[in-house]
């Protein structure tokens, strides 16, 4: 009698804990971070999570590289804000809380429309069609001011309709909780999607589209339906965005937005379901906070991408999973010292490099306001040789130590992997 393996229960304990934690984090986050900015950032993170996950339905699960996902989030936003304005005028009998659904339906509608042509193709032609589509939609958005509101965009007021149990959506916190609920439901729904026949066939299409045709499925149909579903969730994200900002401008359909989804989904990790969640959070952090911290944020962003793609092409999620695997086999013990060393030396290296970068930027942009700048609590003077030498010294020390730490880490890591392989072989044999 062979063991039946497929005893997959959607609600086993581990899963309940994970989802419970997820809900809990979203519930308490605004209580911990109370400022105006963090409230709106948390809201945007929720939105970005939905958008990135929906994007990953295409990229990670379906192997479709899209350069135009913002078209669906963006058009969802536009339709939602128009709906909000109709609602305000009393022409639309639905509560504000359902507006994101309107956005979702709009996103789906446009995905039905555009997807019909884009999903005819896969691979590079698909990528290029989406690029062309995105450029066209963006160009239209400035030309057709009726729907897109021209440069000033379309604004609305979310305090509309009857308050529902005292919820007016005036205060940001109420909007946050609306977004949180949507985020939770959408994440759950998209996770569920990966566990359905269509979701699995989408993976199959990604891996080997040709073979899919020989087991009864039309690859084009699989891609098309998945594209529509992704469009729906994208539209929800767009609708939530419209509620959050109460204004929708052409940038929401712009190439920058689409590129952002691509980059951050990848950075989070397209190969794992939860990767884009990390990606979405990072996207908001990078755009909102990083640029406030430093003028060199674009440089840092570019470098982070370069290095991530080179050294961790699976994104942050894959790093996490790799370490979880190591931990699951009880090998983390042997690694943590080298992790400490690695982290410590990396910090030194980064501090040195960042100090240099900051000084260079200061020299160009802020020198007239004085030659001194503050960096990590230290005061640097771009006019003094000492500061430069100090930084170079820190940097070089960092590089040296890091290299040493890295070698020992690689060694330990290799050994841990060997041990794991052995363990797997042993278990298989057993």
């Amino acid at each position: 009698m062979h063991k039946t393996h497929y005893s997959f229960k959607p609600w086993n304990v581990g899963r309940l804990v994970v989802w419970g934690l997820f809900a809990l984090v979203m519930a308490v986050a605004p209580l911990l971070f109370t400022s105006n900015l963090s409230a709106t950032m948390l809201s945007q993170m929720g939105i970005a999570i939905i958008a990135c996950l929906s994007y990953n339905m295409l990229l990670g699960q379906g192997g479709m590289l899209s350069f135009g996902h913002a078209v669906y989030t963006g058009l969802g936003s536009y339709v939602a804000i128009h709906a909000l304005n109709m609602l305000t005028k009393g022409q639309l009998p639905i509560p504000v809380s359902l507006l994101p659904i309107v956005g979702g339906i709009a996103g789906m509608f446009f995905a039905v429309l555009f997807g019909f042509v884009t999903t005819k193709k896969a691979g590079t032609p698909f990528a290029m069609i989406t690029l062309g589509m995105a450029e066209l939609v963006f160009a239209m958005s400035l030309m057709f001011s009726g729907f897109f509101g021209g440069e000033a965009g379309v604004s609305g007021d979310r305090v509309a309709g009857k308050p529902f149990f005292g919820i007016t959506y005036g205060p940001q916190i109420q909007v946050y909780y609306l977004i949180a609920v949507y985020t939770f439901v959408c994440v759950a729904a998209m996770f569920a999607f990966t566990r359905t026949p269509l979701g699995r066939m989408l993976n199959a299409v990604r891996d080997n589209a040709e073979r899919v045709e020989f087991i009864g499925y039309s690859t084009r149909r699989v891609r098309y339906i998945a594209f529509i579903i992704a469009g729906f969730f994208a539209g929800i994200a767009g609708g939530l965005g419209a509620l959050n900002f109460e204004i929708v401008t052409a940038e929401v359909v712009g190439a920058g937005r689409s590129g952002g989804y691509l980059l951050f989904t990848f950075l989070g990790g397209a190969t794992f379901f939860f990767g884009p969640i990390i990606g979405g959070i990072l996207m908001v952090l990078a755009f909102v906070l990083l640029s406030e911290f430093t003028k060199a944020w674009l440089l840092y962003l570019g470098l982070v991408f370069l290095f991530m793609v080179m050294y961790a092409p699976g994104g942050i999620a894959s790093l996490i999973m790799m370490n979880l695997r190591v931990a699951a086999f009880g090998q983390l013990r042997r690694l943590w010292t080298s992790y400490l060393a690695l982290g410590g030396t990396a910090l030194v290296l980064l501090a040195g490099a960042a100090a240099m970068v900051e000084m260079v930027y200061h020299l160009q942009l802020g020198a007239a306001m004085g030659s001194e700048l503050h960096f990590l609590g230290a005061t640097l003077d771009v006019a003094s040789v000492d500061s430069w030498f100090g930084c170079i010294f820190v940097l070089l020390t960092g590089i040296g130590l890091f290299e040493v730490a890295r070698r020992s880490f690689m060694h330990d890591w290799g050994e841990a992997q060997v041990a794991i392989e052995k363990e797997i072989k042993r278990r298989e044999a057993a």
């Binding site: 160009a139 030309m143 406030e292």
Partner: protein, 388 residues
């Protein structure tokens, strides 16, 4: 209010396409904060907190939130009417939803006339001159030029460009009905790499004059193409003096490119000294004169209101008359549009009379005509809703 620190959040691009302009302007704000902190009627200290909005409305709203968290009550912005619209809207809602924490929005460069007409707002004050005012001034000059017979309108296809085209036609029809508009084109913003076809078309139309609201490379490339394509007509523009454009214009276009603005590079006097000082300090040119308007207006109003509370300052600023670098100006009560003199200047070689040379090009913008406030003043359709 004496000795109080007034924080002003500056929300404009520091990176991207408009980054250079933003960088110039943030320096201007910081430079004049220092100047006004030495002495101002209200005796307050100004502190500028810059936020990079990347020219994005959504990012600007984030920056607004961040500014509010830091207790900022004065916001200034100017690049991009989309951002301005978003900020006006957001500030209006914020002020309505958070009484006691009102915020004032000081618009230094966004020139969409709607902001002081159909979309006018009590918390918004504009210190630049809007598109219609500039065109009033411009056409006042043009109407006296007998050699202007055929005009071509070439603009960027977004609200600013569309408005330039629209108002040009309206006002010219009123002042010089005999002038013919022989062509009109709108091209996408920052998308055109080759303006030669447009020049060919303009030449074919026989136009002797081009009115364009173009800025940045859209303006520079247009003038370059005109020089190369042998087009000899004149260009009436808005933004010939803005960062990057002087270099790109170079020697070309001398005597043929006009700019209408509320300042120019050869104002002389105190302004001239400031410009030179700014130039030596930052190796950059000062051209956003509304910065000075803003500090003057704020400190005058604060002195008048004896407070830095935005609600009182807003009330004091309405109808405020003060003296600025370009003469007597007034913050018109009905629509919060600063009424001020404007100048027409022309791009030509710098000489001893007009020595200031932006970006060391050897060229300058020499004044051609000054327009008093009443000349450029345009009526408003604003029905201002005042709080309370």
């Amino acid at each position: 209010q004496k000795g109080e620190t007034v924080k002003i959040a500056w929300i404009d691009p520091l990176s991207g396409l408009m980054g250079p302009v933003g960088n110039n302007q943030v320096k201007s704000f910081q430079f004049f904060a220092e100047k006004f902190n030495q002495s101002n009627p209200a005796g307050v200290k100004f502190e500028v907190i810059p936020f990079d909005n990347k020219l994005s409305p959504a990012e600007s709203l984030n920056a607004l939130k961040a500014a509010l968290d830091q207790g900022v009550r004065y916001i200034t912005q100017g690049n991009g009417s989309s951002v301005a619209a978003a900020l006006i809207d957001a500030i209006d809602k914020h002020n309505a939803r958070n009484p006691g924490k009102e915020v004032i929005y000081l618009n230094h460069s966004a020139v969409d006339p709607d902001f002081t007409n159909s979309k006018c707002n009590y918390w918004h004050f504009r210190f630049d001159a809007d598109t219609s005012m500039k065109l009033e001034a411009l056409t006042t000059y043009m109407k006296d030029q007998p050699d202007i017979k055929k005009v071509y309108l070439l603009n960027q296809n977004y609200s600013h460009g569309q408005q330039v085209a629209k108002f040009s036609k309206e006002i010219m029809a009123r002042k010089r009905p005999d002038v013919q508009f022989v062509g009109e084109d709108l091209h996408p913003l920052a998308q055109v790499r080759d303006f030669a076809p447009y020049i060919a078309k303009i030449k074919a139309s026989g136009a002797d004059t081009v009115i364009t609201g173009n800025w940045g490379s859209d303006l520079a490339l247009l003038i370059k193409a005109a020089n190369e394509g042998g087009y000899n007509g004149k260009f009436y523009t808005y933004y010939a003096g803005v960062t990057g454009t002087p270099t790109a214009l170079g020697q070309g276009g001398a005597g043929r490119v006009y700019q209408v603005a509320y300042n120019h590079y050869n104002m002389g006097g105190q302004m001239g000294k400031w410009m030179t000082e700014f130039n030596t300090k930052f190796k950059d040119d000062f051209y956003t004169g509304s910065v000075i308007h803003i500090y003057s207006a704020l400190s005058e109003a604060m002195a008048k209101a004896k407070s830095t509370d935005p609600v009182k300052v807003a009330a004091a600023m309405e109808g405020l008359k003060f003296k600025s670098f370009n003469g007597d100006v007034e913050m018109r009560k009905s629509d919060h549009q600063l009424q001020q003199p404007l100048y027409l200047s022309v791009w030509q070689k710098a000489d001893t009379k007009y020595p200031y040379s932006p970006e060391n090009t050897g060229m300058t913008l020499a004044p051609v005509q000054t327009f008093e406030s009443y000349v450029s003043s345009t009526p408003t359709s604003c029905q201002m809703k005042r709080p309370g």
